[in-house]
Symmetry: C2
Subunit: 210 residues, 2 copies
DNA sequence: GTCTATACACCGATAGAC
DNA sequence: GTCTATCGGTGTATAGAC
């Protein structure tokens, strides 16, 4: 469903060369920690164990590297979410589908930290041209969540004193920021995911009835 | 309580010149939208209607501008939170104090968007030296919230199946991200703040009992 | 497919006139 | 307190050998 990286270079299909993949991996890491503008092609090349000029065999520009890094981040999260939702039984409630989506989102986010954090940290700062090219990918993913929350709102499973749009922005923002502070040494991913789902669903206050 | 901007230039006290303030305002806006490294002193100077060389009369370096922008962001939020909490009656519950803190945090955050968003967007990308200098200010603000959530945990007002630390990181992360999507044209600030407090306290699901 | 060498532009910062 | 002029360093990108 939908092709993966439309910006490949000379050859035909999407089998990425090892070097190209190494460039993207190191670029994502450097973009995440230093920002897009502050990261130089020389640094990326050093980290990928090639010389700066060689990058231009694999990419047409620094901005093309950026585009691929951003796309990969969204793709990883989107794939994980869809996979988990599709694994549910046909008549699953919106509550269960949202729970599956939260776990998938967190899994994709936290297991591809350099690509997803680069996305979150630098999207607001990249050139307009890059933002325009990338916007459609982000919009498609946001639509997926809008459908979940709007469905839950219509079925009465969601609180109705906020719009589905506000709830989506709030929940996804909260989840996304975990990539900045999640510490895998403080417990299992499963446990972390369950805690966050509980807080999102029922809030931080102690339940009065229970 | 505690002095405000320790990095002033030649004169004695904290009365900032209009030019200095204009530089900080434009720098915050540019840092927010383009990042720290991508923003040039020439751009800041243009926006402040002076020439690039003149900046060095007011600041010793680009990094000093950055430090002041970051400090101002935290200060604005911290002031708004403390003000609202101190206005509560003496024996107020932790629930009420956290609610007041959330409103203050959102108010300070959204009414100083360029300074606070600069903080959120670029803190992970700035030079280590700037991060070290700034860390103490952030830590002091985080401590304020840790005391609130740990008190609420001890008094039984907070859910106990997550640590107070995880709850603080989750809640503040969720609130902070609103600066990326809050739209004042979609309703009053008071209404927005109430909706978010409700979601943080009780979650996004419809209540079963009620 | 990777290298060396380099073109051309622009950066942060400084010096010194006014 | 702001200006002009400029230094030394470094950025992306390209050309062409291997």
């Amino acid at each position: 469903m939908a092709s993966k990286s439309p910006s490949s270079h000379p050859t035909l299909n999407e089998a990425e060369s090892a070097t190209r993949e190494r460039i993207l991996l190191e670029a994502a890491r450097l973009f995440r920690h230093h920002g897009y503008a502050a990261t130089t092609l020389r640094e990326i090349a050093d980290a990928a164990h090639i010389k700066a000029g060689s990058i231009y065999y694999h990419f047409a520009s620094k901005e093309e590297i950026l585009g691929d890094v951003l796309d990969k981040g969204i793709q990883a999260v989107s794939d994980a979410v869809r996979e988990r939702i599709e694994a549910l039984p046909a008549g699953a409630s919106f509550r269960d589908r949202i729970a599956a989506g939260i776990e998938g989102h967190l899994w994709g986010l936290l297991h591809n930290g350099d690509f997803t954090s680069a996305n979150i940290r630098i999207y607001g700062q990249i050139p307009t041209s890059a933002k325009n090219r990338h916007r459609v990918v982000r919009r498609a993913y946001a639509d997926l969540w809008d459908r979940l929350f709007e469905g839950a709102m219509a079925s009465g499973e969601l609180r109705s004193d906020s719009s589905a749009g506000v709830i989506r922005l709030f929940v996804l923002g909260a989840l996304n920021w975990t990539v900045e502070w999640y510490n895998p040494q403080r417990g299992s991913f499963q446990d972390f995911s369950r805690q966050l789902t509980e807080i999102v669903f029922n809030g931080v206050l102690a339940r009065e009835t229970a």
